[in-house]
Each structure stands twice: as structure tokens, then as C-alpha cells.
């Protein structure tokens, strides 16, 4: 019954579809097989997308229960047995020694961001933006256009009623002095900047785009980090909106 090629189990492993004994055996195989390890990383990131696609509203009462519980739960120390066995080089950056000033700045910066994000969640303009996006995404006459990015990653554009929503996933991370920039390009060769989107370090990006018409194309270019007035490189992806 059992057989053959242990390397073929990466998919079943990533889908949590191995019985416990085979799961343990494959986990051992992984220790000594870098190519399976790499594939498992990628396929696990893929199954996580399946998980995200199943999202549905969590019961509202759960939030306060979880938040109350964490006050009673002690966090593991970072220097567990497992991580002390590990080569220091492979430790995540945040566990490596860092200058006090740098670490303080990092915490201050992230803390501010968390606070801003928290505040934003309740702002009504955020709700309006969400409503505009939902209107496009649920429009019965919407066009859904999906395209791979030349340099890595994929995009999806949903267009309806003169507006569009752009989403990019898994973009290649650019060097520090470069940035992705999103454009609406018209048939006459003009380009209107929508946004400078950063280096692509986030797992995905979404943008609402107003005033998009048949014949326009949504394009993404690589620009100097501040963005450009007009595209200076040819688009890594260009999605035409049809009539």
C-alpha cells in the first residue's frame, strides 16, 4: 500500500490530509529534504489562501472573550529549547540583538501604526471606501479581469459602473529605491497616476480607482520610489477594460 516517492506527499501534507503516522514520517523526511521543504512552504501559503477565502463573520461575543483570556495567559519566552538549538543566523530578525534606540524606534513606529490602524477601522470614510469597493465587486454587470504580472505575482481588476478595484498578490519585492505605481492609461497614450504602491513587501494590495472607462487600461509600472509624473518604464502588467 505504501510505496514510492515520499516527495509526492507535499500537497497532502500542506492540506493536512495525511493520517497522523504518515504526517510524522513525512515531517522527518522534510528535515533532510530542502526541495520538499521549499514546496511545502509554498503550498502551505496556498492553502492559507483557501482558508482566507472561507472567511465569515466571527461571533461578536468571541472578541471580548478572547481579549479577556489573553490577560490570563502567559506568553512563551522567545528562547525556548527549539530556538536555542537553532543556528543564530536563521533566527528571525526581531529576535536578534538590536540597538536599544533602534528597537525603541521600531516599537514606537509599529505602535503608532497599530493605533492608527485601529482608529481608522471605525472611521466613516473607511466605511465609505469599503462600500464603494463592495459596490464594484458585487455589481451584476462587473468585468473581472485576471492577469499575471510579468515580473512575478498576479493581479485582478474588477470594473463596473465607471469605477474599478485593483488587487495585486505576491508582487516581487523591489529594491529600496523603487516603487510600484498604478496608472489609468487611456487609448490616446495618456496616463493618470492612481497611486504609488510601495515596494511590494505586503502580501497583497488593493486600490479603488474612480473614473475608469471602456478603452482605458489599468497599468502597473516600476518607478523611482517617490513615483513619477508619467510612466518611465513599460508596464509589468496592463489590464485593458473592454466595453
Amino acid at each position: 500500500m505504501s510505496d514510492t516517492d515520499p516527495h509526492s506527499l507535499t500537497g497532502a501534507y500542506a492540506a493536512d490530509a495525511l493520517p497522523d503516522d504518515e504526517r510524522r514520517a513525512f515531517a522527518e523526511h522534510l528535515q533532510g529534504c530542502p526541495s520538499c521543504r521549499q514546496e511545502v512552504l509554498e503550498l502551505t501559503a496556498t492553502t492559507a489562501r483557501l482558508a482566507a477565502a472561507a472567511a465569515e463573520p466571527a461571533p461578536p461575543q468571541l472578541r471580548s472573550r478572547v481579549l479577556a483570556e489573553i490577560h490570563t495567559v502567559r506568553q512563551l519566552s522567545p528562547s525556548g529549547a527549539r530556538s536555542s538549538e537553532r543556528d543564530r543566523r536563521t533566527q528571525p530578525w526581531f529576535r536578534q540583538p538590536m540597538g536599544v534606540a533602534a528597537s525603541f524606534l521600531l516599537v514606537a513606529c509599529l505602535g503608532l501604526a497599530a493605533f492608527a490602524l485601529s482608529a481608522q477601522r471605525h472611521a466613516s470614510d473607511a466605511e465609505q471606501a469599503a462600500a464603494r469597493i463592495a459596490a464594484v465587486a458585487t455589481d451584476p454587470h462587473r468585468q473581472v479581469l485576471s492577469q499575471q504580472v510579468r515580473t512575478g505575482g498576479s493581479t485582478i481588476v474588477v470594473a463596473a459602473g465607471g469605477n474599478a478595484v485593483f488587487r495585486a498578490d505576491g508582487l516581487t519585492v523591489l529594491p529600496a529605491n523603487r516603487s510600484y505605481q498604478l496608472w489609468v492609461m487611456d487609448a490616446a497614450g495618456g496616463a493618470r497616476s492612481v497611486a504609488v504602491l510601495g515596494r511590494g513587501t505586503r502580501s497583497h494590495l488593493e486600490r479603488f480607482i474612480a473614473n475608469v472607462h471602456p478603452g482605458d487600461a489599468i497599468g502597473l509600472t516600476v518607478e523611482p520610489s517617490g513615483g513619477s509624473d508619467r510612466p518611465t518604464t513599460s508596464p509589468v502588467v496592463q489590464v485593458p477594460i473592454s466595453a
Binding site: 472567511a55 536563521t90 516599537v107 477601522r121 502580501s203
Partner: protein, 210 residues
């Protein structure tokens, strides 16, 4: 520099940091889930609240997809989120993003619950098949409204029927590949292969990077 203010409108949850803070670590503006988890690992409660709001629906959704029962799903969701808090210090960004880490943990917990419960051993596989086929349609329907979900649905549609059924039964249905083989009346090797090549195709279609 302020091109982004001109035309585009940000998604909820996308906040522009003030420029003075940008060059440090968060070069793309809002904190990523990885950033939040870093804060959580330092015991930051408010960061955990933000993280909760970002992931709770996905955690609950995938757990419920596998377990079905809302009360059990709520219980497991709570366990998972508390576990995120407890073990945040052990999160290793080299082995994937925070989202992947959390959702993998959620799915795994749901599977453990399925496998350990007596009920699962009595499950009538035939009934399960019918349910899961319907389940897939439901997933396909519910997802219409959201882009993330739309993208996943489109990519699932591009798989062969066998790939899609194998993945759906295993991942959303919580079946082992041996059970899937029985359900679909296929050799074990075929199911293993379909799970692998199906997920590889899904990975490429979604543009997933670990």
C-alpha cells in the same frame, strides 16, 4: 511624493503613516500582519486587538468550514487566537507570513478536533460526499462579494475536476487523502498526485509567494 493622495482611495485598513516614520521598517505604510505579530510577541495588547480584527473572521471561517458545528467552531477559534498570543514569540518569518502561520494553525486545530471526535469516525462517507459537493457551491457563492475570495474561486475553477474535488474534500472537508480516495473511488497515488499538482496550479494562479 504625495501622488497617492491625488487620486486613489485607500482600502479600509490601509493607513498612510506620516512620512517621518516611513523609512524605518514599515516602508509601505500600514503595518503588516507580520509587524503586528512582532508587537504581539512583545506583549502588546492593543496590537493583539488589531490583529484579532484582521484575522478572526478568516480563522472562524476556515474552522467552521471543517467542523460545521457553530458552537465547536467558536470554541476552536478561541483556542487558536489565544494560542497565537501565547506562541507569537515562536513565529518564524522565514517559514512564511503571519497570515499563513495563523491560518495554518487554525486549520490544523480544526482537523485535530475532527480526527479526535468520535463523531467523525462514524461519519457516513457517502453523505459526506454529497455535503461537500454542495459545500463547494456554497463557498463559490459566498465568496462572490470579496476580491480575495473571487480570486480564489476563479483559480479553483481553473483546476481539473479531480484536482478541485480532491482539494475541496481534503482541505474544507477535513478528510485524509485515504478517505478522499475512497470517496472518489480512486487509487491512493492518484489522490496524492492530484492534491499536489492541484495545489501547485493554485499557487501559480494565485501568484503565491511563501
Amino acid at each position: 511624493m504625495s501622488v497617492s493622495a491625488r487620486a486613489g482611495e485607500t482600502m479600509p485598513g490601509m493607513v498612510s503613516l506620516r512620512r517621518g516614520f516611513r523609512p524605518t521598517v514599515v516602508d509601505d505604510g500600514p503595518p503588516t500582519l507580520d509587524d503586528l505579530l512582532t508587537l504581539v510577541a512583545r506583549g502588546d495588547g492593543p496590537a493583539f486587538e488589531v490583529l484579532y480584527d484582521e484575522v478572526a473572521n478568516a480563522v472562524f471561517g476556515v474552522v467552521r468550514r471543517v467542523l460545521r458545528d457553530p458552537a465547536q467552531s467558536e470554541e476552536v477559534t478561541q483556542e487558536v487566537l489565544v494560542e497565537v498570543w501565547r506562541t507569537a514569540t515562536r513565529f518564524d518569518p522565514e517559514r512564511g507570513s503571519a497570515t499563513t502561520w495563523i491560518l495554518t494553525m487554525a486549520h490544523r486545530r480544526a482537523i485535530d478536533r475532527v480526527r479526535s471526535s468520535q463523531a467523525s469516525q462514524d461519519r457516513d462517507l457517502r453523505v459526506a460526499t454529497r455535503d461537500h459537493v454542495r459545500d463547494y457551491d456554497q463557498v463559490a457563492e459566498q465568496v462572490e462579494a470579496r476580491l480575495e475570495q473571487e480570486q480564489v474561486r476563479r483559480c479553483l475553477e481553473q483546476l481539473t475536476d479531480l484536482q478541485r474535488e480532491s482539494i475541496t474534500l481534503a482541505y474544507y472537508g477535513g478528510h485524509t487523502y485515504r478517505e478522499v480516495a475512497e470517496l472518489l473511488d480512486l487509487p491512493l497515488g492518484t489522490v496524492k498526485t492530484r492534491l499536489r499538482d492541484g495545489l501547485i496550479r493554485l499557487r501559480d494562479c494565485l501568484g503565491v509567494e511563501p
